[in-house]
């Protein structure tokens, strides 16, 4: 530490001397000195007896820098793993359905992958170096446990990189016939390898939270036991779905930004449509995400009561109120976008659906009010005295899982019905069984909603295990049943339906674009919030119950401090994504501009040097 202080003093002494050379030089030196400080610390600690357990970085702190880099790496990884799913689905739709615009959309997003992939790998590399530098004891231990899977991870990376290059660079060359099938297969392989690239490091992270340690056996057996820990698959599924949601909403945000800035009608139509597709895929994933989250939390609770209570009832429980707010905004934003679509893209539909939209909105807000009501309320002394404690005697019942599960299921149902309404808008049923079909769908929806509410209320009067294992699961199955029944019935109805009003793309108001951006920001904030929750649930353990954190950072930062880092990560990630989009589309803009210039000349002849292509033909 004295060496670090000495280093700081040396730099401080040097600064006035270089002042005359300009402030930029001083800044440069300061930055260089600052970056060199850890090495001074490392050298100092290296001379002490025994192995070094921790190193630190002044001002920022080792924990904070690891936090930011790990979170950015995770967000980028989510983007890089989510976008190929999104792109591949679009390509398959284009391949099977013949709609070329889906292929164009898929290609547009795959183009982003090459630069995004490199950025993700870069942050992964930085994270690894920082972890090895700052937490050598932990990394030694993890390497000892997971050594075989490190090798597998490297192999997967090679395969993924090769597949990505083939997939992207072979796009135009593999457009027809069997070559297209091969290209689609490459897309599948890309996602296949990406899945394993995600689940292998998930094992390392989940091992820290729910370790399975066996003392005997080969390196492979020990690694396998550690990998197959209780929270590994719940996290795998949860992250897979979350990545689809992130990919969809970021696509939507990109389309939203472009929609707000483009001038031509053709571009407005294209980006309006892209925004719709992004929002649809985001919502599609969002409907399944709460189920996966519930399963994950259940496994955590079952694995360790202490960790479960820390998360859901202890000091991290307030995070879940923030989570409810963010998810609430996301549900509202997604539905708002659907409703705006009905009103603006399908002229004349507003009068028909306004009442339904009002009912859905009120139901959503009621559900949100329940979801956001905490079990223990934020109250002053006087308020708490009036309530007789931190629980409200009447509204306190809304603060427990039975109520939360019920309203989250209802919100999923409402959002699904918003989509169905959008799907049906502007069409008139012609099938003979249409009235009967609609009555059946209405009955299914009504009965399902009642069943979800009844199970939710009943959940208060049965043992917790009955509620968790049977009632909550039944609620989820009921919602899935509704989705799986109404979707094909609606598709069948619409197959013979007559289009009364054509969809008008490019007519959405600016606030639709802003709502798409808002949705993306909410998803990113949610991921940073839950990243903090997952890490903090280990409290003062590197590996829960196995390796204690003995560094000066063995405490959980307060929610206010944590939210600053979360906000910074969200902001920085948005900047990174904007940069990736900008870099990836720079060539296209240049080509478009050059193409437009050429178009003005007869036969596309390039303008002569010094010529003026906008002057028209010479007389």
């Amino acid at each position: 530490m004295s060496a670090i202080q000495q280093g700081v003093k040396t730099i401080q002494r040097a600064l006035p001397a270089v002042n005359a050379q300009g402030a930029w030089l001083a800044g440069l030196l300061l930055a260089a000195g600052w970056f060199a400080l850890p090495s001074i610390g490392m050298a100092a600690e290296g001379t002490a007896a025994g192995p070094t357990e921790y190193r630190d970085i002044p001002y920022i702190g080792a924990r904070n820098i690891i936090w930011v880099v790990a979170q950015l790496h995770l967000l980028l990884a989510g983007f890089v793993l989510g976008v190929p799913i999104f792109a591949w689905l679009c390509e398959v739709i284009a391949w099977r359905g013949g709609e070329k615009r889906y292929d164009k959309l898929a290609k547009e997003f795959t183009k982003l992958l090459t630069s995004a992939y490199a950025t993700t790998a870069l942050f992964g590399g930085i994270l690894l170096f920082l972890l090895v530098a700052f937490y050598p004891k932990l990394m030694n231990y993890l390497t000892d446990v997971f050594f075989p899977s490190f090798l597998l991870y490297c192999l997967l990376f090679l395969l993924e990189t090769a597949t990505l290059y083939l997939y992207w660079y072979g796009w135009d060359a593999m457009q027809e016939g069997r070559k297209k099938s091969l290209h689609v297969f490459l897309g599948f392989l890309l996602n296949f390898f990406a899945l394993f690239i995600m689940i292998v490091p998930n094992a390392w992270a989940t091992f820290q939270a729910s370790p399975v340690v066996i003392a005997e056996g080969t390196a492979f057996e020990r690694a396998w036991a550690a990998t197959w820990n209780p929270t590994w698959w719940p996290i795998n599924i949860h992250r897979l779905i979350a990545n689809v949601v992130l990919g969809g909403y970021i696509c939507g945000a990109y389309a939203g930004v472009r929609y707000l800035s483009v001038k031509s009608t053709e571009d407005r139509e294209h980006y309006d449509w892209m925004g719709y597709v992004g929002n649809f895929i985001g919502v599609f994933g969002l409907l399944a995400l709460p189920f996966a989250g519930y399963w994950l939390m259940r496994e955590i609770y079952q694995y360790n009561q202490q960790m479960g209570i820390t998360l859901m009832g202890g000091f991290l429980s307030w995070l879940f109120i923030l989570q409810a707010m963010l998810i609430g905004v996301l549900f509202l934003g997604s539905n708002y976008y659907f409703w705006l679509g009905i009103t603006y893209r399908i002229p004349g539909s507003e009068a028909k659906y306004r009442k339904a939209m009002l009912m859905m909105l009120v139901s959503l807000l009621l559900c949100l009010a329940v979801w956001m009501t905490p079990h223990s309320l934020v109250a002053s002394i006087e308020e708490a005295q009036k309530m007789g404690g931190a629980h409200h005697p009447l509204l306190g019942v809304l603060g427990v899982m039975s109520a939360k599960m019920t309203v989250s299921n209802l919100m999923i149902l409402i959002t699904f019905m918003s989509f169905v309404m959008y799907w049906r808008a502007g069409k008139q049923d012609t099938a003979g069984w249409a009235a009967f079909g609609k009555a059946v769908m209405g009955a299914i929806l009504a009965l399902a909603s009642i069943a979800v509410i009844v199970l939710g209320v009943w959940g208060y009067f049965v043992p917790a295990i009955v509620r968790i294992n049977y009632f909550s699961t039944s609620q989820v199955l009921i919602v899935i049943f509704v989705i799986l029944t109404i979707t094909p019935l609606t598709a069948l109805l619409l197959k013979s339906a007559r289009t009364t009003t054509e969809m008008v793309w490019g007519s959405m108001p600016p606030r639709a674009g802003y709502s798409l951006v808002l949705n993306a920001v909410m998803v990113i904030l949610l991921m940073t919030l839950m990243g903090y929750a997952r890490s903090s649930s280990r409290v003062h353990w590197h590996v829960y119950g196995v390796m204690r954190d003995t560094s000066p950072y063995a405490y959980s930062p307060a929610l206010g401090s944590a939210s600053l880092i979360m906000a910074f990560c969200t902001f920085f990630f948005c900047i990174l994504v904007a940069f990736i989009f900008w870099v990836a589309t720079m060539g296209d803009k240049y080509k478009t501009a050059a193409g437009a210039g050429k178009g003005d000349l007869p036969h596309g002849i390039p303008a002569m040097a010094g010529g003026a292509p906008d002057k028209g033909p010479q007389g």
Partner: protein, 238 residues
């Protein structure tokens, strides 16, 4: 004012309902300001969302506000406009000052209701057989040691309960002991308020540290008696 009138009436009605009607429902109590603000925020968001769904409704809703703020064709209402433009920033400033100024009031509480138990208490199972005799004994111990605060009916309304803020836990409420495992109750009874972890500080529990007076076996029996008497079941994973 047509399109603006309804939202204003709705907001006022909502406020009146939350502030004055809801607390007077039997078994209810006044809502803390944090919850009132949350519900009003949701109502306001709903109004903005619904009113901006179409161009016509947006213009009808936002138009009067825009005209008022820009002073367009305002006539005799100009003075009111200036009043709003001056008073609104002052109101925001006053609110900001009020929320940041040093005050002699205690800070708003965001208490951790269920602090996490220490590792050595997680996963413990009740070693005492669940027989009618043991349950009856547990109820007897409960009557002697716990009921003065937690009540003979397990409802948190014992004769001494009035002396405590927060009030003793109501075990008949399905959101208290029914959410917890027996091992959690064992820890809380054994270690009491002083045994709460750092995350639970400043702890607000008058629960005595019963380990100094009661053997572990009695505590386990009390737990069985509590669940049986309150008609609740402990959280289990089987």
């Amino acid at each position: 004012m047509g399109a603006l009138g309804k939202p204003i009436i709705l907001m006022v009605a909502m406020y009146v309902f939350i502030k004055f009607v809801l607390p007077n429902i039997p078994g209810s109590a006044p809502l803390p300001s944090s919850l009132i603000a949350l519900y009003l925020l949701l109502t306001g968001s709903g109004i903005v969302i619904f009113q901006t769904l179409s161009k016509e409704s947006k213009d009808a809703f936002w138009g009067p506000m825009q005209r008022f703020l820009t002073g367009e064709n305002l006539g005799g209402l100009q003075a009111l406009r200036y009043g709003v433009l001056i008073l609104f920033p002052l109101l925001v400033g006053w609110q900001t000052y009020g929320s940041t100024a040093v005050s002699d009031l205690p800070p708003i509480e965001s208490r951790t209701i269920h602090p996490a138990p220490p590792g050595e208490y997680t996963g413990l199972s009740n070693p005492v057989a669940k027989t009618p005799d043991n349950i009856m004994q547990g109820k007897g111990f409960y009557a002697a040691y716990c009921s003065p605060c937690h009540g003979g009916n397990f409802d948190g309304k014992g004769p001494a309960a009035r002396g405590f803020v927060p009030a003793p836990a109501n075990f008949a409420d399905p959101t208290t002991i029914a959410m917890l495992q027996e091992s959690y109750l064992f820890w809380r009874i054994k270690k009491g308020g002083v045994g709460l972890p750092i995350e639970g500080t400043p702890w607000k529990s008058a629960m005595p540290r019963w380990e100094v007076e009661l053997p572990d076996e009695w505590i386990w029996k009390i737990i069985m008696g509590e669940y049986d008497g309150a008609h609740q079941s402990p959280r289990t994973w089987e």
